[in-house]
Structure formats: structure tokens, C-alpha cells
């Protein structure tokens, strides 16, 4: 497998504290990689290393199968990025800001008008950025990241400060980038719900460690389905099922059956009915992805 981004044993320490620990990140071409983690997990630190803004304490980074240390400039010419809060020159207009970066990138001048239209800033193109709202500054940052039509787009919490319609807009924009432009996207967030409908691959980072990295489907599978039963005589039902070899989780007002096939559930219920136990409710309890994510990051904190 050829990866667009591949880190090996990537580690960054600040003094004694390890902000990123032995990270093996793998992003395949055309993926939208959701990089998740609570505050202080080390997302921004990782992204800064991927962009050569910070030197790793140890480990290696390959982007487009080239070593970042050796080919930083040629790699960065194909990367667009937005790191943390948007940076801009407040005394310049939106267009002048983009012009300053465009010149260095060597992108065609017409590209400025294009990216301004993409992020819907065309109307304020000639206004000084000083007067922009946070959301508008964020859009300018996204426009800047798109200037060179990058092969790899790295966005660190891009929806920060955007209103709900802005969030949807940016999400729609990002979603179509892999098909329409062949881009690979790395997008960080501390909310799974933000990238739930977006990401094709998910990496979960807590306390500098990557505790999960797989497709979003694999993560969904973790959302095991439980069946909860409410019956007339819970003690009796619990005992009967146990005697038949069916393990249930006894809770205050219901029994929980985890990881059973449809058939096994049907059999268990039929059995209870035969034993004269009235069935009040059979409900499916689905854990949301958010629950799984929270549990993952919590488990790691306990352990």
C-alpha cells in the first residue's frame, strides 16, 4: 500500500512531557482522514510536524513517499494547510493576503478569485481582514489552503468559529474534494459528530497516543448492538435464560443481551414466552459513535 502520509514512531517531547508518542499514522490516497482527540491530545503538534513547522524528537515522516526532512520544499508545494487559529495580515485586504501567499506558491493569479468564490468571500475581497468576523477569517484560511490546488489538504479544526450553515457548507466542500480534485484530506477535530459524515478513515489520539486507526465502518462495527428486554418477572427470566446457557446483563429494570444474532434473540424470546413470562418491551440500544469515541478516550485515561 502506498500512503500519502506515513509516520513511523513519530514522537515529540516538550521537556519531560511527551505530546506525541510513537505515532504510526497512515493515510492512503483519496482518503478523508478524521483525526480525532480531546483537547491537548497532540493533534496540532502532529500536524505541525507534518508541515515541517516543528522538528520531531524522534521518528520519521514520509509524505508522498518522500522524506519530509530531505524534501520539505517539494512536498509543501503540493500541500495546503490551515493550522489552529487562522493566520492573516490584518492591515491587508482578503485579496492582498491571498496574493502574498500566492506569489510564494507560484499559483496563477486567477486562482485568487476562484478560491474567494469557493469560500464565499468574493463580496469582501477588497475589505481589510481586520474587520472580518472569526468565521470569515476561518474561510480566508481555508481559501489560502486551497490556493495551490493541493494534493494533500491538512485542516486543523477548520470549522472552528463557523456558524451551523457555514459548517455544513465547508463540510460539503471538503466531502467532494477527493472525487473532484483527487485530493487527500487530513482533518482534525475534537468532535466525532463533526467528521462522522465526512471521514472515510479515523485516527483517534489521546494523550499523544494513537489508540485507534481504521475505516469509519470498522469504528461503526464497534457500536455493538444491544437488545434490552423488559419482562413481567425479571428474576425468573434471568434464571431461566442462564439455565439455558444464555448470558444476560441484569440491570435495574431490564435485561441486556449483547452480541446475539437475530435468530438467537428470537429463540430466547420464544423460550421465555413458553415459560409464561410476559414480554413488555424488546428494544435495540445503539451506542452512538460519539459514545464509542468518548469511551475509547476515557478507557485510555483510566488505564
Amino acid at each position: 500500500m502506498k500512503y500519502v502520509v506515513e509516520t513511523k514512531n513519530l514522537t515529540k517531547s516538550f521537556g519531560k512531557e511527551q505530546a506525541v508518542q510513537s505515532l504510526d499514522m497512515k493515510i492512503a490516497k483519496g482518503e478523508i482522514y478524521g483525526f480525532l482527540g480531546p483537547n491537548g491530545a497532540g493533534k496540532t503538534t502532529t500536524i505541525r510536524m507534518l508541515l515541517g513547522l516543528m522538528k520531531p524528537t524522534s521518528g520519521s515522516i514520509q509524505v508522498f513517499q518522500q522524506d519530509l526532512k530531505k524534501s520539505r520544499i517539494s512536498i509543501l508545494s503540493k500541500v495546503g494547510s490551515l493550522v489552529e487559529n487562522p493566520s492573516y495580515y490584518p492591515h491587508l485586504t482578503a485579496r492582498e493576503n491571498l496574493e502574498a501567499w500566492r506569489k510564494i506558491l507560484g499559483a496563477p493569479k486567477s486562482r485568487i478569485t476562484d478560491v474567494l468564490a469557493i469560500v464565499r468571500l468574493s463580496d469582501v475581497a477588497n475589505k481589510k481582514v481586520k474587520g472580518f468576523s472569526l468565521g470569515m477569517k476561518q474561510r480566508l484560511g481555508i481559501a489560502a489552503a486551497l490556493l495551490n490546488n493541493p494534493e494533500l489538504l491538512i485542516l486543523d479544526e477548520p470549522t472552528n468559529g463557523l456558524d451551523p450553515s457555514g459548517i455544513i457548507e465547508i463540510r460539503e466542500l471538503i466531502k467532494q474534494l477527493p472525487q473532484s480534485h483527487g485530493m487527500t484530506v487530513l482533518i482534525s477535530s475534537h468532535l466525532l459528530s463533526e467528521i462522522d459524515q465526512l471521514a472515510t478513515t479515523v485516527g483517534v489520539l489521546t494523550k499523544g497516543k494513537l489508540i485507534f486507526q481504521d475505516s469509519i465502518e470498522a469504528m461503526r462495527k464497534l457500536a455493538k448492538q444491544n437488545i434490552s428486554l423488559r419482562v413481567s418477572d425479571q428474576d425468573e427470566a434471568h434464571r431461566l435464560l442462564l439455565a439455558k446457557g444464555i448470558q444476560t446483563d441484569y440491570q435495574k429494570d431490564r435485561l441486556i443481551l449483547s452480541e446475539f444474532t437475530d435468530e438467537e434473540i428470537a429463540n430466547a424470546i420464544q423460550f421465555l414466552v413458553q415459560k409464561q413470562i410476559a414480554i413488555y418491551r424488546v428494544e435495540e440500544e445503539k451506542r452512538s459513535l460519539e459514545d464509542i469515541f468518548l469511551q475509547m478516550t476515557r478507557e485510555d485515561q483510566v488505564g
Partner: protein, 235 residues
């Protein structure tokens, strides 16, 4: 690449008051003598046989002050452009080498100081002609306008280094202000102190020495600053 980066630095310095400052630096020093000569021209002309040289001396009393203060303010403006919204990370994440970014900033600053020195020459010449001081000593005029520029290059290199790598901008401002003090009492200070150099006064009585020293030590400090900037993680 360096040409593009320099153009970008000029674009970013728009509306920041750089050029006003450059003008004020060159003009201000001569303006002080306009007041001086305006008030007591007769007295001043009696002080020496060579009125032009005496006039140039009066001007050059204030040139180091303007230069050192100008360096402190210009470098601080220059780095504030990036520091204000942490734009270093945006700039360095572009396909540029950090060394080139640093070189572009230094070049633009040095260019502005050179323009200020040129303005100083023109204003000095203009007011000198207006005062009708006799035969114009072109050599001395150029010497007192441009030698201080070369002699102050180490201060520029040092200030740019401090301003780019400090997290706290109070540090470069402090060093900048402290650096202005020697221009008031240059005679009493040791020759090795770089802040004394723009005054061109030294125990050998050879102003040109400070030009060579300025170029040499300026280069050295420039390279130290540039490599230190490149070595560090971007803010």
C-alpha cells in the same frame, strides 16, 4: 525565490507606516539643524573656518540616534507583521526555506535604512546649499550619510534576530531602547560596543574602520541569527 519573497515583504509592509518612518528618519536629523541654524546661524558660522564640515558634524551628532532608534522600530514593525496573528506558521508551511524568509526580511530592512541614508544625504545637501556654506565637500557629505549605515549593520542583524525568536516582544523593544543610549555618550564607551559604531568615533580616529567592522560583524551576526531562526520550531 528570494525575489518573490522580497516582493511579498514589500506587499506586507503596505499601510504599516514603514515609509513614513524612513522619511522622518532622514528628514528629522536635518530638521533639527534647520531649527539650530534657523535660531543661531550667525553664532554657528563663527564657530569654525569650514562651515560645511561644521554643519556636517552637527548633523552627524544625531544620525546615530535616528539610525539606532529607526532599526529598533523598523525591525519591531517587521516582525509584528508575522507575530500579530502568528502568521509565521502560515508562511513557513509554504514551500519556502526558512533561510530565505529571514534573508528577505533582512534585505527589506537594510534597503529601507539605505533609503533613509539616501534621504539624509539629499536633505543635508539641500539645506547646506540653502545655508550657502561655500564649496560643497561631496566626499564628507557621503561619508557622514552612509558610513553610519554600514556601521549599524550589526545592530540591525542583532535586533532582527532577537525580534524574530523572542516570544515576548518586550525583549527586542528593551534591547532596542538600551541600544539608543550609547549614541548620547559615544566618546566614553569602549570601541568594541557595536552600539557605539554608528557614531563613527573610535580611538584610531578612522571612521572607515567601523564600516569594515560593521560589514564583517554584521554578516556574522546575520548568519548566527538566520541559523538560529531556522533551527527553532516555528511559533
Amino acid at each position: 525565490m528570494i525575489r518573490k519573497l522580497i516582493q511579498v515583504e514589500f506587499l506586507k509592509s503596505k499601510r504599516k507606516g514603514f515609509w513614513l518612518l524612513v522619511f522622518l528618519g532622514g528628514f528629522g536629523v536635518v530638521a533639527l539643524q534647520m531649527v539650530n541654524y534657523g535660531v543661531r546661524k550667525e553664532y554657528l558660522l563663527q564657530q569654525s573656518d569650514n562651515d560645511w564640515i561644521y554643519y556636517l558634524m552637527n548633523i552627524s551628532n544625531f544620525t546615530p540616534l535616528a539610525l539606532v532608534l529607526g532599526i529598533a522600530i523598523l525591525t519591531s514593525f517587521m516582525t509584528s507583521i508575522e507575530n500579530e496573528t502568528n502568521a509565521w506558521k502560515q508562511l513557513i508551511a509554504l514551500p519556502v526555506s526558512k533561510l530565505t524568509v529571514y534573508l528577505a526580511k533582512f534585505t527589506v530592512l537594510a534597503f529601507m535604512l539605505l533609503v533613509a541614508s539616501l534621504l539624509l544625504t539629499l536633505f543635508t545637501y539641500g539645506y547646506g546649499v540653502f545655508l550657502d556654506l561655500g564649496a560643497i565637500p561631496y566626499g564628507a557629505l557621503l561619508k557622514y550619510s552612509f558610513y553610519p549605515f554600514f556601521a549599524s549593520l550589526p545592530i540591525l542583524a542583532l535586533q532582527l534576530w532577537i525580534a524574530t525568536v523572542s516570544n515576548n516582544q518586550a525583549i527586542p523593544i528593551t534591547t532596542g531602547v538600551i541600544g539608543v543610549l550609547p549614541s548620547f555618550s559615544a566618546q566614553n564607551l569602549p570601541d568594541w560596543l557595536i552600539w557605539k559604531w554608528p557614531s563613527l568615533m573610535n580611538s584610531w580616529n578612522e571612521p572607515i574602520y567601523y564600516v569594515w567592522l560593521g560589514l564583517g560583524v554584521g554578516c556574522l551576526l546575520y548568519f548566527v541569527g538566520m541559523f538560529d531562526f531556522a533551527r527553532r520550531d516555528v511559533k
